[in-house]
Amino acid sequence: MIAVRSRSGRLGRAALIAFCALVFAFLVLPILAVVPLSLNPGGFLVFPEGGLSLRWYRTLADSPQWTHAFGNSFKIAVATTAIATPLGTLAAIGLSHMRSRAKPVIVALISAPLVMPIVVVAVAFYFLFAPLGLVNGPVGLVIAHSALALPFVVIVVHASLSGLDPDLLRAAASLGAPPLTQLVRVLAPLAAPGIAAGAVFAFMTSFDETTVALFIAGPEQRTLPIQMFEGVREQISPAIAAAATLLIVASTLLLGTAELLRRRGERLRTGSAAPDVGA
């Protein structure tokens, strides 16, 4: 009886593992498929047959078009991060202090760019910015990307603040710290990992954003995703796969950084007491 049960248990377990492996393969394989394509020594976007090469990475580095696109994406993403991070952090601090019933409404408004179809957001920005002269320029793109990145910052920072003991700020106040000092000396250092993680998300949001960039960016702001998009349409070269691989590596590194920061923040907040032996 026991043997039968444990055999069926083993079978069930094997089936579970197999199913999970399939799901992971479904999620990850299409993304990873681009990596071997980028190592193809030949001139076509096919899987390499015999021999690998980094020649398409060299092409990327040597092509002014690609390096320009990389630089554009990087500049726009840095500017977006610089705007969205402080704004989102302040919004998260305000929200965490809020006891009003309007709070869910405000959270919904802040998250609106996240849930709207991105093409709607892009068209809306286009028609709003066109009469203001903000299309075909970097300023409009940075503003639009900041609006898209802001909800991520708010969500991540708000989560890191909600784990914070509210008595810490009360203690700081009772000890004589005015509100700004409480913010700078107590709240900011404790929320710093969360804020940094929010900044990483803001950077990533802008760095790989395509749709809004297609509508608003001018020829001078050709970003990396636009370059890839048009590259696929015009000249199907393995250089696109190489660029994609670089993007995968960058995203993975940044996500890992954000996760490390999140854990560090948690450790900082929940240090458990040492035992009270002989105290």
């Binding site: 009360r170 710290a177 040492a274």
Partner: protein, 372 residues
Amino acid sequence: MAVSASPLVEFRGVEKRYAAGAAAAVAGLDLAVERGEFLTLLGPSGSGKTTTLMMLAGFETPSEGDIYLDGRSLADRPPHKRNMGVVFQNYALFPHMSVAGNIAFPLRVRGIRGADAAAKVEAALALVRLEGLGDRRPDALSGGQRQRVALARALVFEPDLVLMDEPLGALDRQLREHLQIEIKRIQRALGLTILYVTHDQSEALTLSDRIAVFADGRVQQLGPPDTIYERPANAFVAGFMGENNRLAATVITQQGDQCAIRLAGGQIVRATAAATFTPGTAVVAAIRPEHIEMGEQPLPCCNALDGRVDQLVYHGDHRRIHVGLDGGGSLIARVSADRDVKPGDRLAIGWCTDRCFVFPAADGSNPGGEGS
């Protein structure tokens, strides 16, 4: 100076409602804290004691009335300008600062730095007996050590008074008693004024110069610990402070604070009245288990009753006897553990008139920890 004769803190007609139309968390509060005293706000959770403390610290705003510090209204003074040291139950130490950094925090925000600040931090660490631990992080300390750091941090800037919100609530019993002694020692040594919140009545009795017993947002009784324990003002205080047998009864006659009452079982006993009653009023008689005397022979004291041992409960240093009274009713008496009694024994029990208090029957709620 005329000012120094006035109380340090005064609550005048303070009321707190968290929402319009909601029940008052604190109502009709008039309370004075004298200089140098240890005043404890004691009560069950939700009785308004913590809300009272939070209003004084400035973290909550009174809905009605005003609080005065040194005769000046605190209404428009934010928490960081009140100069009160606050000690929280969960310590509220800054996890990103060392022990010394935590204690130096109130000095830094006051512009005290360098050798001056370092000397004060050292003195504060010595006061709470944590010399040499200044470089540690709070998460490398035990709970008891953390609360000592919190205490040092709340004292180092020489506040006008110290507020403590259940500071020992998260610690185990032995450590709690140890820290009670420490807190009392420091309070005496520095002549501190302390407003202390707890739900632990033995802690309140041990530490306080005066106790304010809270229930339902109101002060039920204010006085020194022995008065609160031995002469409770109403049925709530009698039930909340230690154990009490509560016997339903009706008043027969009253002369001054002495009265004769008839218990539910028909027995007539004499007791001390906490109010003026007209004959026939339904009342509750409260008597502590340790004040019930017993023997095999009828007792010489004025209230003598007969009964039978229903049940014995062992408590280590003493036993509790559940006594069924002849004619109905039951109560709990406390005897030393070596006394020879067993279930079914006949007993004569009795108590002195001044140990039994009579309160209106409808008075107060029914707190836990009562005897009957």
